[in-house]
């Protein structure tokens, strides 16, 4: 029988992948994609939790998270485009405006 632990471990793994992507990829687009991975890990937890607990709130949450993810992707990518136009690169090694 597949228990919720299986799903949680899978979600943790996805989240780990997302985190590592955010931390170690230099391409902003990749960073955003890694964030999508992390969001999906959370979604997985919500859906499996919804099944475990026998209510639909988790699924509704997934719905909202997808909405938020869409908005996040839209605005985030717009910022990537704006950055690219201004600095000609999306490599975070070269984007260090906050440097002290």
């Amino acid at each position: 029988m597949v228990s919720i632990d299986h799903y949680l471990v899978l979600a943790t793994f996805m989240f780990l992948c997302g985190t590592l992507g955010v931390l170690f990829r230099r391409n902003l687009l990749m960073v955003l994609m890694s964030i999508e991975l992390m969001l999906n890990a959370v979604n997985l937890v919500f859906v499996s939790g919804s099944r475990l607990l026998g209510n639909l709130d988790g699924q509704v949450m997934v719905f909202f998270i997808i909405t938020v993810a869409a908005c996040e992707a839209g605005v985030g990518l717009a910022m990537v485009i704006a950055l690219f136009r201004r600095y000609g690169t999306v490599d975070t090694n070269f984007l260090r405006v906050l440097r002290g």
Binding site: T67, A70, C71, L77, A78
Partner: protein, 116 residues
């Protein structure tokens, strides 16, 4: 039987069919590559210039698509339940649509949909 089993079967068959079609020529057809043949096709004229940067309009279209896509999904959900929600549901969805329509009007006014 789980209703998703056929989905898996079709997925496998479809990907298999696509894979066969995609790989068929590799095995069946002749292979005599040469430089000229492999040039990207530009009506016989030598390729000039780098790949152009595409207009940001495509991006704007895609972002609008996402946002309205979500709206459509909400609408599907509502269309399923509208009989039981009654006038309350209609009011709810009208508020939702009015807000999004405001965004739509902004988009049109801002000229994000002008292709010129």
């Amino acid at each position: 039987m789980n209703p998703y089993l056929p989905v898996l079967i079709v997925l496998l068959l479809g990907v298999g069919l696509g894979g066969i079609l995609s790989g068929l020529a590799h095995f069946v057809g002749p292979r005599k590559p040469n430089r000229i043949k492999e040039e990207p096709f530009e009506c016989g004229v030598p390729a000039v210039g780098e790949k152009d940067k595409m207009s940001v309009k495509f991006y704007l279209t895609a972002i609008l698509f996402i946002l309205f896509d979500i709206e459509t999904v909400f609408l599907y959900l509502w269309a399923m339940t509208f009989r039981d929600l009654g006038w309350f549901g209609i009011a709810e969805i009208i508020v939702f649509l009015v807000v999004l329509f405001g965004g739509y009007i902004y988009v049109v006014k801002r000229g994000a949909l002008e292709w010129d």
